[in-house]
């Protein structure tokens, strides 16, 4: 049984835009950049696994309902 907790409030406190690369223990932001590409480029030589997430002011529509209507256009 594995127990995980990700504190986005603490992780993203200093980051209001761009992207961050978060350590695999979800405790620290290791790299950040204006774009995802820039952030991944900085992390290129880093050997440990990193998780990428956009940094923004608010994630008010992070939770929302999607449904596949499947109308082909």
């Amino acid at each position: 049984m594995k127990y995980k907790r990700i504190n986005f409030i603490k992780l993203l406190k200093k980051y209001k835009s761009g992207w961050v690369a978060i350590s695999s223990d979800f405790e620290n932001v290791v790299f950040s950049g204006k774009t995802l590409k820039a952030t991944m480029q900085k992390a290129k030589k880093y050997k440990e696994k990193l998780y990428y997430f956009p940094a923004g002011e608010t994630y008010s529509n992070f939770v929302g309902l999607f449904s596949n209507a499947n109308f082909k256009i």
């Binding site: 907790r5 409030i9 406190k13 992070f62």
Partner: protein, 137 residues
């Protein structure tokens, strides 16, 4: 079994809205993209933004376009049928929708994908959820 605490996201502190978020690595050939996905029992199928699709080197522009429905309107998406997702040590294949014009953080796993792979128990009163992957061998 994986037990995860619901996450509070910046900007939502006053609302108290918590999100069941799981760390996931998407894999497409030699490209891997570790990120975080919302586990959404209300979502029919997994969805990622075009930013994530680009990071996975998926040529989404060449996939057929469809229209989907949300609570706030329509969205255009393309279905990529052969993505791999890895959560902890468990890997599975899924068909994913790639949505245009949505926030880069949009990353959802839904009823047709993760809910087919695992028993997922939401315990809102504990602010946590459990993912127990099925043994399909």
């Amino acid at each position: 079994m994986l037990i995860l605490k619901y996450s509070l996201l910046p900007g939502l502190e006053r609302t108290g809205v918590l999100a069941p978020v799981v760390p996931v690595t998407f894999i497409h050939g030699n490209f891997e993209f570790p990120t975080f996905a919302l586990v959404d029992s209300g979502g029919e199928q997994g969805l990622i933004s075009t930013v994530i699709a680009d990071a996975l080197n998926i040529n989404w522009q060449k996939l057929p376009r469809h229209v989907g429905l949300t609570t706030s309107g329509n969205f255009v998406y393309h279905t990529f049928p052969n993505l791999v997702a890895k959560i902890d040590d468990y890997e599975f294949r899924l068909s994913i929708n790639i949505a245009e014009g949505v926030n880069a953080f949009k990353c959802i796993l839904g009823r047709k994908d993760i809910f087919q792979q695992a028993k997922i128990t939401f315990e809102g009163y504990k602010k946590e959820f459990r993912i127990d992957f099925r043994n399909l061998n």
